[in-house]
Amino acid sequence: MNVKAALPLALALGTTAPPAAAQWTVRGSGVVSVMRHRVDAGYGVEPSGGVTLGGELVVGKGDRLALRLVTLSGSLDAAGPGAIDRAVADVGAEVEVVALPWLAAQAGVRRRTYSTVLARQRWTTLHVGAEARLPFTETGLSGIVRGAVLPGVWVNGLDQPDLAFSVASGMEYRRGRASVAVLYSVERYRFPAGAKPSRREQIAALALKAGWSVTR
């Protein structure tokens, strides 16, 4: 779930305006996400969902490089039998390098915690991916498509997953210093069966972001 939230954040990162060469740009954004979390640890699907709030800070140097810091937290309410309420908190950092005017490479690390009345589960993930921007003729309007693989996923009590990726799609509009974006993302994991049953987990999120940038 938090991963989902992270996706919108990262997407928002990807939407950072390319500043003029050698200029520093700082963009701060608030992010509201509607998240849907589903996990099947071998005992049936446990759905939950809720709204998270977060923030994003992007520091860009020139039009080629940006550092993104994201955070979010919120509560996911049980949405089916067998599920329990949980709180999620997420923090992450990401570096973005613009390879082409419409394509940027991204890599980062996230730390997420799920807390329930029963236990607390900590996730640490590494992701490497790319984001494509599709600028419309209307200045400031862009489509966004991004994808990433997560080659490193560490969860206490679980082995490394044999499948882990995240994808997102959305729109962004910038006018002057202001920007708004809406993104849909999915983060998916599959842990192989071993001593424990196979585990599947997925976070879908719809994120709405509003930001303001300062350039100097």
């Binding site: 759905p47 419309f136 003729t137 799609s169 993104l183 599947r200």
Partner: protein, 360 residues
């Protein structure tokens, strides 16, 4: 040992006697192979009015048989003193011939009235009337500020003539005319460092061209002196290049641009649907349609609106205004650079140095 000392003393005494004998007989073989020494000896004899002994020495220097090198100045000097000596012995015609030879070798040749007799001066003037030649002094190295200083060129004609003096780049067909008119004798012309179009002479090789036509006889002569011009000034700034199309926003969109917007919107929508469908884990229960539908609807509506808008508004006034603003900024920046460069060019110093020909 005593024999050796005695031999050395005898040798020294005989050498001294030989030197004394040579000094007493100056018309014999010169003491060395130096043309300068022989000319010096002739000068001394001439000053002592020992013309009979000076003449053979001077004739030897100008003779084709003279085995040693003779500079142009030495040859002119020999011709001049030979002519002056012949005047003193009454051979005015021969004297005039040698004066003319001196003038042909160096049109700047002249006689000092304080050192030569009126008769010699008269014969020299006759020779000048009979000879026509123009000359120009070599350019000396000079650091010239064209705002306040002038370069001076010295030109001469042997007698009255129509003269044209011009400074011209060796790469140009037209030069700056410094003088055009009648002239007689030595004359100086100043040059302000400008070329024909009144611009500062660019760096390069130049020639001072002197052409004259005698007013006394149907004869012409010309000469040229080469020199190099270099600029000394602060470095100039490069102006900014024109904005490339890729640096400008599109001001007018073809119909395909509107279609492109529509496809982009639909593509983003399809992406959201694809993510929620094929890429989501179907074993985790029914897919949530509301979340991707929100993005898909947003992207579709954006694409449709952009398509309709762009079809009806193929021109983007905002982009055109932004482009015009950028172009104006570029023009303003270049004008400032050009102003600064003009100020630096105005401070240009010309470095003039003699050169040997049209080019290396």
């Amino acid at each position: 040992m005593r024999r050796l000392v005695a031999a050395l003393v005898l040798g020294a005494l005989s050498g001294a006697r030989l030197a004394a004998a040579q000094a007493d007989t100056p018309d014999s073989t010169p003491p060395s192979d130096s043309t300068a020494q022989l000319l010096q000896q002739a000068h001394e004899l001439y000053e002592r009015v020992d013309i009979e002994r000076a003449l053979p020495l001077l004739q030897r220097v100008v003779s084709p048989d003279w085995p040693f090198s003779v500079t142009r100045a030495q040859r002119v000097d020999a011709y001049t003193y030979l002519a002056a000596s012949l005047v003193l012995v009454g051979a005015a015609d021969s004297a005039a011939r040698y004066f003319r030879a001196a003038l042909e070798h160096d049109p700047f040749t002249d006689l000092d009235p304080r050192r030569f007799t009126p008769g010699q001066l008269a014969v020299f003037r006759t020779a000048r009337r009979l000879t026509f030649a123009v000359g120009a002094r070599p350019v000396t190295a000079l650091r010239l500020d064209p705002r306040t200083e002038r370069a001076t060129f010295t030109v001469v004609t042997t007698h009255v003539a129509t003269l044209r003096v011009e400074v011209r780049s060796t790469d140009a067909s037209v030069g700056r005319v410094l003088f055009k008119g009648e002239s007689d004798g030595l004359r100086e012309f100043s040059w302000n460092g400008l070329v024909a179009d009144d611009r500062l002479a660019p760096p390069g090789r130049y020639a001072l061209l002197v052409a004259g036509r005698s007013r006394l006889e149907e004869r012409s002569d010309s000469t040229r002196v080469y020199f190099d011009v270099r600029h000394e000034r602060p470095a100039l700034e490069d102006t900014l290049p024109d904005l490339r199309p890729s640096q400008l926003r599109p001001g007018h969109y073809p119909p395909s641009a509107a279609t492109g917007d529509l496809l982009k919107g639909l593509g983003v929508a399809a992406g959201a649907v694809l993510i929620s469908g094929a890429l989501a884990d179907g074993r985790l229960g029914p897919r949530s349609a509301a979340l991707p539908a929100t993005v898909a609807a947003t992207a579709t509506v954006a694409g449709v609106i952009a398509f309709v808008w762009r079809r009806h508004h193929p021109t983007d006034p905002g982009n055109n205004a932004a482009n015009a603003h950028r172009r104006q900024e570029r023009r303003t920046a270049n004008e400032a650079i050009q102003r600064r460069n003009a100020e630096r060019i105005a401070q240009t110093i010309l470095l003039i140095a003699p050169a040997s020909g049209v080019g290396p």
